[in-house]
């Protein structure tokens, strides 16, 4: 187990190195002189002197060769210094941290909705394949996967805010503001998750040990809850890990639809205003968090299933 964790940690460091390199290089393909851009934002267009430009160059390490620039940048990043926003001139790390709670709140509440829909519906559908409920679940999740989340968000605004007037259109601050965004994101993820819960449970129910449990006279409920579900849980945990990708992308879209001041909206705004340090900081922050959570998911299901430890340890 320790060996497996060590291996995955080594891989994590390698991945973080690669992620930082790609993020760094992406920002260097931007047309134009980066230092000049910084100087313009710092001193105003046409208002900076040659001396100021060269001091900016020194500030951001732009006079160094590319690989040294990378190391220079990396040494700052490691200490939590992601640079300064072009627009607000505040530290990028602060801008992200200020908006993080709104995003985490949305993500957590959406995941709760996903689990509350996907788990019972997936289990009930798997218990009686081809039943009416099963068909409803299958069709519902097919449609749910196809509905774009930005459209669903707008439809919900149209129905619950503009027509019925019972929930706020956009913004944040209260629980009422959280409902529509979380439902938008949560139901979208539930569409995928329900199908996966159902499929993994169906596969488990076919296993010999389930037949054994039934043969020794256990009730259907005990078979399901004590034997099948526990094993079906491993793929479900994986799924929740995979959903993280949807979740992060989803927060960007949903926060934009509902004008929620979170990290996702920060990125979109940064692209619109060409605030490169913010964009770079957010991309790095989200990719690093994503890798870290994935690592935790991997390790946690290696605990759940010994088979993964041995097979995963080899590759």
């Amino acid at each position: 187990m320790l060996k497996y964790i060590a291996r995955r940690l080594a891989l994590l460091f390698f991945i973080l190195f690669g992620v930082s390199l790609i993020t760094f290089l992406l920002m260097h393909v931007i047309p134009g002189d980066h230092a000049q851009l910084v100087a313009i934002y710092r001193y105003g267009f046409d208002d900076y002197s040659a001396q100021e430009l060269s001091s900016v160059r020194k500030d951001i390490g732009a006079e160094l060769p590319l690989y040294q620039q990378y190391l220079w940048w990396l040494s700052h990043v490691i200490h939590g210094d992601l640079g300064y926003s072009f627009i607000t001139r505040r530290p990028v790390a602060d801008e992200i941290l200020v908006r993080l709670p709104a995003t985490l709140e949305l993500a957590a509440f959406s995941l709760v909705i996903t689990v509350l829909i996907a788990l019972p519906l997936g289990v009930l559908a798997a218990r009686r394949p081809y039943s009416r409920l099963d068909n409803f679940t299958v069709i519902g999740s097919l449609i749910g996967v196809a509905v774009p989340n930005f459209w669903l968000g707008l439809l919900l605004i149209l129905i619950f805010s503009l027509t019925l007037g019972i929930l706020p259109v956009a913004g944040s601050g209260s629980f009422a503001h959280l409902i529509l965004p979380a439902v938008t994101l949560g139901t979208g993820m539930a569409a995928v998750s329900t199908r996966l819960v159902r499929a993994s449970l169906l596969e488990v129910l076919e296993q010999d040990y389930v037949a054994t449990a039934r043969a020794k006279g256990l009730g259907e409920g005990a078979v399901l809850w004590r034997h099948a579900l526990r094993n079906a849980f491993i793929p479900v945990v994986t799924v929740l890990g995979l959903q993280l990708n949807h979740l992060i992308g989803g927060t960007v879209i949903v926060e934009t639809v509902f004008a929620r001041p979170g990290v996702g909206k920060l990125i979109v705004d940064a692209i619109e205003s060409r605030d490169i340090p913010i964009l770079q900081g957010c991309v790095l922050f989200l990719a690093a968090s994503f890798s870290l959570i994935n690592l935790l998911v991997d390790i946690s299901y290696a605990f759940l299933d010994p088979r993964i430890r041995y097979e995963g340890g080899k590759s």
Binding site: I22, I30, V145, A146, V252, F290
Partner: protein, 294 residues
């Protein structure tokens, strides 16, 4: 035993797959929808009553009527015509990204799986790194630095998309290359290129086609989402996501401007997913008539 099963399974001819699909009602429905959408895309210039980018400010935000069957948008452009032309953009981008990703991924996956060694190692580690970015965040990083637009969106999607194909093809190649028929081909002195092209490629085509069918709706959703954010297709391009974004300002008075493009996206994605499900089951007889398939 397991290898022989995979070999037989993956060597099912495509014509059998087609036959199986016509017996699968959901997949048939998806396939017909896809064909309808393709027809709309091809025939858009003849089907559309107006030029999709022609502005008629005197009739801006007109309600549905005889002249404009689905009304006009805020620039007085015919909504119906824009919806029909939108099928062109979405299908073209979907096919382009799916095709490029499948082509590049298949070649790299084949070579990496067949030869192994350092190339394989590089491929897997590159995959590890690129998969560390949440998809949309990577696309936003590319579009944010290279600039908004459809071209850069396509570029970002291909850079991400080929990885999936490469990984799947590599996996199938790894399991196939130990088969007796490959050993026999080697024994006969066939070149590596010929073995890969004539003996391995036909076996990976099934999974690649299935993957490509699922890649198209993914791409369409991603492009629509990006255009919705204002970073994909730029005005006046009649792209569904961009139309949805433009229509949301008039949601109170003209909700159909926002509803119709969303419906088109949903139907298109649903159609390809149904077709993809059917193809997957048809190419994998083990799964046929199993409730997991639904």
């Amino acid at each position: 035993m397991h290898e022989t099963v995979t070999a037989i399974r993956t060597r099912l001819p495509l014509s059998h797959a087609l036959q199986a699909i016509t017996r699968d009602r959901a997949a048939l429905f998806g396939g017909i929808l896809v064909m309808l959408l393709a027809l709309i895309a091809l025939l858009a210039p003849w089907l559309a009553p107006h030029n999709p980018v022609q502005q008629d400010m005197a009739h801006a935000l007109a309600p549905p009527g005889a002249e404009y069957p689905l009304g006009t948008d805020n620039m007085g452009r015919c909504n119906l015509s824009r919806l029909l032309y939108g099928a062109r953009i979405s299908l073209a981008v979907g096919l382009l990204v799916g095709g490029l990703a499948a082509g590049i991924g298949t070649v790299i996956g084949l070579v990496a799986g067949y030869y192994g060694g350092i190339l394989d190692e590089v491929l897997m580690r590159l995959t590890d790194i690129l998969m560390a970015f949440p998809n949309l965040i990577f696309i936003l990083a590319v579009v944010g630095t290279l600039g908004p637009g459809l071209t850069n969106t396509v570029l970002a999607l291909v850079v991400l998309g080929w990885l999936n194909f490469a990984r799947v093809v590599r996996g199938v190649t790894l399991s196939i290359k130990e088969n007796e028929f490959i050993l026999a081909a080697r024994g006969l002195g066939f070149s590596n290129a010929r073995i890969m092209w004539r003996h391995i490629l036909p076996n990976v085509l099934g999974p690649v086609i299935v993957l490509a069918t699922f890649d198209i709706p993914h791409t369409i959703l991603a492009v629509a989402g990006l255009s919705f954010l204002g970073l994909g297709a730029q005005p006046p391009t009649p792209e569904w996501g961009a139309m949805l974004n433009a229509g949301r300002a008039y949601m109170r008075t003209q909700p159909h401007l926002m509803i119709a493009p969303g419906l088109m996206i949903m139907l298109t994605v649903l159609a390809f997913n149904l077709l993809g499900n059917g193809l997957r089951d048809a190419l994998d007889p083990r799964r046929k008539n199993h409730p997991v398939n639904l």
